[in-house]
Amino acid sequence: MSVVHCPICQKRIDWDPTPPYRVSDNGVAEPLVRDPRIAEAAWQDQLVRAYRPCGEVGHPGTHLLPYDYAKYTPVSIGMIGHSRAGKTHLLAAMIYRLCSNDPVLRGLDLQVGPLDLAVHQRYVAEYITPLIGHRRQLGGTPAALVEFCDALKVTNTRNGRSFALTFFDLAGERLERASDDELQFYSSAQALVFVVDPESIPRRAGPGTGGDVSFEVALRRLDARARPPAARSFHPVAAAVVVAKADLIRFEDRLVSDWLAVGSAEEEVELSTVERESEDVYAYLSQRGATQWLRPAQECYRSTLHFASATNGPASDGTFPGAFRQCRVLKPLLAVFAMTGILDESALLPPSEEPG
């Protein structure tokens, strides 16, 4: 692949002629020039940690992509939801589970590892370790910077295809801005995870409320994308609508309680239940008049709906108490994988509909 687009700013990059750069200890990009005395293996080792810029280094708004980014099929996944919907905790729990090397994942024939080692290490240090290791509540996401928060390389060993995953977790207040030139990932993201804050939706059936402004902004901006002829009435993006913090509503509705109760590792990788879960989530939101929150499921070409809890309970004084665990956080991500071709899409079919 000789031409790619930056997943952050969508600038076109003529990939092969773009020279490698390294990032120095003080965070500044410098040209990486091969020392003719070093061996090929050492040079390749340097390239693994190298980057290619999407523009002229030193100019504002130029981004660094992993040197081998273009070798893989790019998949950008964006988290959508208003401030404190639970995006950051959910994504940290998702990535933690995805990178956990849990034996059950081997059944999916997925190999997962960092694509950008520096970015991934930063993400682990700032999000996964505090949340999972120290059970600390994560801070709000600052609104200033637009870039992907983690980049993973995912290989489907069954078909040998590798994907360059980039995750965008931006501040909710930023996602609500009607006009934000820096937010470009709407135009290229393969999947959006719409995070529903259960504390914001109506508590009983009735007329729908205003919904989540960030959902509206995302769907409006998706309007600009070209739609395939076969699906002109839908946005060409995979949407996973996740009722996050589901632990807060598990005692209000048996449906939620039941789904959280079956959140074992084995069940999480069983994608054939996704459709049934989607129906239940749809029904749950509909019954509460949360029809605005259903728009992504209704308007996106591929969509699934989920209950999930990143912490299995609310925080107390900034930490999560004893029942802390991750419930059903991986399933929405795996559903996205299936909807974007990382996994076989047929995995989402209920058992009775599996191709014979």
């Binding site: 952050i8 990032v23 200890d25 003080n26 965070g27 500044v28 990009a29 810029p53 280094v57 030193g58 100019h59 504002p60 708004g61 130029t62 981004h63 660094l64 992509l65 208003h82 401030s83 404190r84 950008d116 520096a118 970015v119 930063r122 509540q137 994560l138 801070g139 709000g140 600052p142 609104a143 200033a144 910077l145 870039e147 992907f148 501040a171 909710g172 207040e173 609500e176 820096e182 402004v213 609310p314 925080a315 107390s316 004084d317 900034g318 930490t319």
Partner: protein, 562 residues
Amino acid sequence: MNQIAHQIRYCWSPASLLGTRGMGPVESTLPADVLATWDRYLRDHVWAAGTRPGFTFVVRDGVGALLRKVATAAEDGRPGSAAHALLSPELKAADALGLTSWDGWDAPALSVLPWSALAPAADRGLSELRARARALPADRLAALFAQVLHAPGEGFTVIGEPDPLAVTCALGDLIGETPTFASDEASDTGPHLPTAVFLREASFSSTTATRRRIAPAAPLADPALSSFAVAAVDAYAADGMDGIALTRRAKPPADLVETREWVSAAQFAPGVLADVGRLPRLSPTAWQSLAREDALQRVAAAAAAASPAVLARALDERLPEYLLAVIVPAAVAAASGTPGDPALLERLAQFGPIPLDLVAGSLPADVDQLARITHVLLTPRDRRIVLEQAARDLPLTGLIDWIDRQAPADPAGALAMYSALCARAGRASQEDVEALVSRGGLAGAVRQFSESGQQSSIHLVTLLRALPRGALDPDAVAGLAAHVDPVLLHALDTIVTDPSARADIHYQVRLAYYQEHLLHEPTALLPGDGPPGDGSAEPQAPRRRWHGIRRHQPHHNHGKPT
């Protein structure tokens, strides 16, 4: 908004004043429409990077905005941020630095504040901060300053600085303008950042850093900038703003070209600030670096432009002679000005006597000043040379007046001028002679610088003899004799040959004698008795044409001023 300051408070809210969810304005003294505009400017600056308060100062549309942001725990315990902003057109970067220690942050209720209520706090805070800035490790600060100098118009980021506010203050003081700043940020890759940004650590970002990263440990590629930075920081640490006042620019340099011009102009030699007042504080090594013609020319030029106070500081016995040789003339010139500077002259006197060739070109033209300066600084011999030289340019009437006026207080100076007068007396005009006559032939002045009456007489004879032939006509002699001064009469008696004139002289001699001994004149000499007509040696009493002339009491304090 003039003369007042508005306030905005930011924190997480499900519904801010602007109706948004998330981090937004929850309390404000601004009108709603103005608040929306300012929110667009400020919302990217309101997130705290850590637990200690961070400060960000930006300027938009001529209005300064200072934010104080702190990490918080919301009601549900989730870590977040809160920010408090002050906005005012009066708020400049230096004020903002001072207001970082304002005690009104996090006040329970916000109100519009008169700037007059904030200005004292800003001044006080800046003063305290400047004291901290001067105590910063000089080598670290110099390294940072040198790097800022390399591209003075560009923003920069400092990583891991323990006291960002003090460094901002110091860099602003040193370069001539306090920069806009952000004292504690997590990233410096975003847009709209202020000039100086401080990061706790170099964090990785997928967005390339476009700002310069400067660090105390970074190698300095430019020795010229480095040596200047070291010298400037040393001066700043030692004397604060006074230490760099003479070398500081009114405006910071815009680019490297201007920086180099400044660095060159602000140093006598590499590492030596162009401030003569600081020369005594330098090391002998630094003094040695000035022992070059070009450096000494710069010192001389700076000294010529320096104030008397600076020059007084510069005069130090420890300075090598080659430096004193360029400073002293400038100090003499400054001390010779109008009005002169007594403190500087007093300081100069401690270096006296000063060789004439060192100060010859710096002496004042005004004779009074010249006499005063030379009296303090020169040897009597040199002084006489200088004064005689100066006297050549004076009109004789002025010279006569000066001698008559100054002799009591400055007999040596008067003697020098008198010598010049004698030398020029051959060209005296009638007017000059009349001036001389009216001052009693300067007999009183001559007595001030003479050791005895005999010597006074000799001086007077010298002058009177030097007058043009015929200048001492009978009227002139009578006028002089009427002063009844014994030494003058003696001198006249020595040189006047005209019998009639001599009769007048002798008459006055007699009168002087009687007056000296409290005797009345003999009756025969009284008016109306007629002169002796026997042709004896006694002269006729002259007609009293000069009775109106005041008669001086004769003097007998030969020599010194009374």
